[in-house]
């Protein structure tokens, strides 16, 4: 909704000309929008856990399958290219701090990351893996898959909270 200041300190909605609100009314409406319903948080959690699952839960199957499929393809391509998944353990001192940002990015992939964690797939740090010519490509695909799923999760949350259509 694009708003512009109207006459007499009122905001006028460009799309619906008859909806004019005073500044205080508009502020209270915006404050009301800041409180998302509990269902939106549930959708957010589902969307993180199963890529695209939040949209499917909202009944938007096509969008959910497209977004979830995209994240899954990116993640699986990253694994196939020999990418490395990060976790908090295994390093000491300063190096453990360096693990935090990529771990958060990888963790965004939800169930895909958890399955790999349980199967210990992609977490090994063998020298032969790092010497693979596509190792860095794989890392990038895996990191970006998680970050994209965070974006998908926020989209599902906004849809569930009514902030987006």
């Amino acid at each position: 909704m694009r708003l512009r200041p109207g006459p007499g300190f009122a905001f006028v909605d460009k799309r619906g000309g008859n909806q004019s609100l005073t500044v205080k009314e508009r502020e209270s409406e915006l404050a009301g929008n800041m409180h998302a319903p509990a269902a939106a948080w549930l959708v957010g959690v589902v969307a993180w856990f199963v890529p695209g699952g939040g949209h499917i839960l909202l009944g938007n199957w096509r969008r959910g399958l497209l977004l979830g499929g995209t994240v899954a393809v990116m993640f699986l391509t990253g694994l196939k290219l020999g990418g490395h998944l990060f976790s908090f353990g295994g390093q000491e001192g300063f190096y453990s701090l360096l693990q935090i940002p990529p771990t958060i990015a990888n963790f965004g992939s939800g169930i895909l990351y958890l399955i790999c964690f349980l199967l210990n797939k992609g977490f090994s740090e063998g020298g032969d893996l790092a010497s693979s010519p596509t190792f860095e490509y794989g890392n990038t695909f895996l990191l970006v898959a998680g970050l994209l799923n965070y974006l998908v999760m926020l989209d599902a949350f906004d849809l569930a909270a009514g902030r987006k259509r």
Binding site: L66, L67, T70, M74, V152
Partner: protein
């Protein structure tokens, strides 16, 4: 898989998510996705040629 095809795949997948999440109508999504894809490809190729001439 060749490096160029990996770059194309990466650009295509990211463009899909950006297009679907950022825009409202199907037409806007399509055009925005194509724009992002094109930007990824052009910037990637320009950077590749710039790095090619660097001596390290």
């Amino acid at each position: 898989m060749r490096h160029f095809s990996m770059m194309m795949l990466f650009a295509a997948l990211v463009s899909v998510v950006f297009g679907v999440t950022a825009k409202q109508t199907a037409r806007e999504r399509l055009f925005y996705g194509l724009k992002v894809f094109g930007e990824f490809m052009i910037i990637g190729l320009v950077l590749a040629w710039v790095l090619y001439f660097l001596p390290f």
